[in-house]
């Protein structure tokens, strides 16, 4: 049923204007986000090399190939390792530190967020190059320290596992200060009196954190946790591409880099598209989980 509210010429004019205001953004998003999304979905059902005029419809072959390819197992394992390291350094550590900074420190604590944030402004390529030399086993300072304590730093870029750690550190360098800042502002939703009351009861800090702070900051925390995964996996793309190209033997590749590699190294658009769609679905599941959590969180935080 159309109510009188919608029929007035004034409201109609307003709606038309609203559309004009959204149009430039919408056009850009349709052109460079929504249309590509659909096109990639389409491409994932074809075998194509991006230049040939012929595209071969292969139905779900690309997905089946991906799921049966042993490389995919490596990629999945690597991706999980990236996620574990990123969550540890870019979520858990800043979360605890934000708690410490907010409730266990009083004087002179505000300077830290400003200083820690500075590294978030540095380009990932710059970070990649800096870490490459800092971890250089021959001339870098980390190698020198390792030497001093009698350990030989292996060539990290040739060592599976270690290569993922060093590359992850580039993403940690990029996101740590930002995540700390956001988690810090999330701490504002915890009433100071609750903490004071718990301190009067001589509750240990670990207890205050898990029993009071975590429940009350869950929506910010879940947001940062998910951004850590979604953005982190894309952040490490740059150091992988610049430093290792996924090597040695795919030991540093992840779900994002592999998608890029399929497209622009092997020109297998179908495989790339299928992997991208799978990646997106995983991210969207995370987004859905976030919505569920945040809705619960609203109850807590208001």
């Amino acid at each position: 049923m159309k109510s009188a509210d919608d029929q007035s010429a004034y409201r109609r004019r307003e709606r038309r204007l609203a559309f004009l205001f959204v149009l430039p953004s919408l056009a850009v998003f349709i052109l460079f986000m929504f249309y590509p999304l659909l096109y990639t979905l389409y491409l994932s059902f074809f075998k194509w090399n991006m230049v040939s005029p012929k595209m071969k419809f292969v139905a779900l072959d690309n997905y089946v190939n991906l799921l049966t390819d042993p490389v995919t197992v490596t990629i999945a394992e690597n991706t999980l390792l990236y996620i574990v390291i990123l969550v540890l350094f870019n979520f858990l550590l800043p979360y605890v530190l934000a708690f410490v900074n907010t409730f266990l420190m009083k004087k002179g604590k505000y300077i830290y967020k400003t200083l820690l944030f500075s590294s978030s402004l540095i380009a990932l390529v710059v970070g990649a190059i800096l870490f490459q030399w800092i971890f250089n086993p021959v001339s870098g300072p980390v190698g020198a320290i390792a030497d001093a304590v009698g350990v030989a730093l292996p060539a990290w870029s040739k060592t599976p596992g270690l290569v993922i750690l060093v590359i992850s550190l580039v993403a940690v360098y990029k996101a740590f200060g930002y995540n700390f800042l956001i988690l810090l502002s999330g701490m504002n939703s915890v009433p100071e009196e609750l903490i004071e009351a718990a301190k009067l009861e001589k509750a240990p800090n670990s207890n205050i954190f898990t029993k009071i702070v975590v429940p009350l900051t869950s929506s910010t925390a879940v947001y940062i946790l998910i951004m850590t995964i979604v953005q982190g996996l894309q952040y490490v793309f740059t150091p992988i591409k610049v430093l290792t190209q996924g090597g040695p033997n795919d030991a540093s590749s992840n779900i994002i880099y592999q998608g890029y590699d399929y497209a622009f190294t092997f020109y297998e658009t179908g495989m790339s598209a299928a992997l991208a769609i799978i990646t997106m679905l995983i991210f969207l599941v995370l987004l859905y989980l976030e919505f569920r959590f945040v809705e619960k969180g609203v109850y807590y935080e208001n």
Binding site: S3, A4, D5, S8, A9, Y10
Partner: protein, 364 residues
């Protein structure tokens, strides 16, 4: 021709009907108060006049013209918001002249109009200040000035004094009346404060649950409340209401039969109500320590000394009743005699909550 006319206006927010068939005619140049507690719909009525809120059904006429679909900007509205809505980044002068500049009124005339408003509202010398550099009272006057310089037909005020402290509010009430008398626009004033309503309004529309409960002068609204809601809403402390069992020209109060005047006896007898409620304002009574003829013996349970007056609490027909006297007439005595002043009784039909009316002799 009325200045503003609502005909069967309904306003819904989603499925929720907040204004339920409003009929209201406002005269040109009058000061009309929309009085009610929060959520009663009074602000919605004001916002429908301004066009900031649309009308779901029914008709709204402004100066005789159907205004349902008129742009808010075409209605000739000067409005004062509860939070004043001053632009924080503009000086007092820029705030006051904001609308005039949008309408491209010549700068010379803008200067004249602003000067006049500034003088009338005692804002001289503050023209170049920013809102944050002003006191609450000054901000409120800037908001008034901005609504006035427009010289619009309608002057709408939404709780304009609620952010002021009590002292300033008294002063601002008088000032509002003075300004209205100078500019003479039709003024619609929304408030939840009955003192403001009584002192500023020429007529008051008491609103509850999306309906006008009564529309009349402050005097009538207080003296002749149209229904139980108005009776209890106006006056502080509110009117005492209790079971009004009448029989053979008397009203039973606790164990006493209080004789009614012949006029009341007839009125009550012909009211046709199955059950009546009686109402007496706390101050419309006499209370004595000594027995008096036609007085009801009561036991005072509690008393409060307000300094200028004293309130006594006791029970009549099962309801807690408060009575207010100028002096502590009982001096600690618990046994007292209570008698409503003649002509200060009100009777309501318990089923419809309507006032049954007053006998001839009670007319003033």
């Amino acid at each position: 021709m009325y200045s503003i006319e609502f005909k069967n206006v309904i306003k819904r927010f989603g499925k929720n009907e907040v204004i339920k068939g409003l009929n209201l005619s406002i005269r040109k140049g009058e000061r009309l108060i929309l009085l009610g507690s929060s959520g009663c719909g009074k602000s919605t009525i004001l916002r429908m006049i301004s066009g900031l809120e649309t009308i779901s059904s029914g008709e709204l006429y402004l100066n005789g013209k159907l205004a349902n679909d008129m742009d808010p900007g075409d209605r000739g509205i000067g409005m004062v918001f509860q939070n004043y809505a001053l632009f924080p980044h503009m000086t007092v002068e820029k705030n006051i002249a904001y609308g005039l500049r949008i309408h491209r009124i010549p700068e010379k005339e803008i200067a004249d109009r602003v000067k006049k408003a500034v003088t009338i509202l005692n804002l001289d010398g503050l023209e170049q200040r920013l809102p944050r550099e002003l006191s609450g009272g000054q901000r409120q006057r800037v908001a008034l000035a901005r609504a006035l310089v427009k010289q619009a037909d309608f002057f709408l005020l939404d709780e304009p004094l609620s952010n002021l402290d009590a002292q300033l509010r008294g002063k601002a009430r008088k000032e509002l009346v003075r300004i209205h008398e100078m500019y003479g626009q039709t003024m619609i004033y929304v408030t939840h404060d009955q003192i403001e309503a009584m002192t500023v309004g020429q007529r008051i529309a008491v609103i509850n649950d999306g309906r006008i409960q009564m529309l009349d002068t402050p005097h009538e609204v207080y003296r002749r409340p149209a229904n139980l809601f108005v009776a209890k809403f106006i006056g502080s402390p509110s009117m005492n209401v209790f079971d009004g069992q009448t029989a053979a020209g008397t009203m039973r109060l606790n164990d006493t039969a209080l004789p009614l005047t012949p006029g009341w006896a007839e009125k009550v007898g012909t009211a046709g109500a199955e059950k009546l409620l009686a109402g007496v304002r706390p101050e419309d009574i006499t209370l004595t320590a000594e027995p008096e003829e036609g007085a009801v013996p009561v036991t005072v349970q509690y008393h409060e000394d307000y300094g200028s007056r004293v309130g006594y609490y006791f029970t009549i027909n099962g309801e807690e009743v408060i009575s207010i006297m100028r002096d502590d007439v009982l001096q600690g005595c618990r046994q007292a005699y209570w008698k409503p002043n003649p002509g200060a009784l009100h009777f309501f039909d318990a089923a419809t909550e309507r006032n049954i009316g007053y006998p001839e002799e009670a007319a003033e």
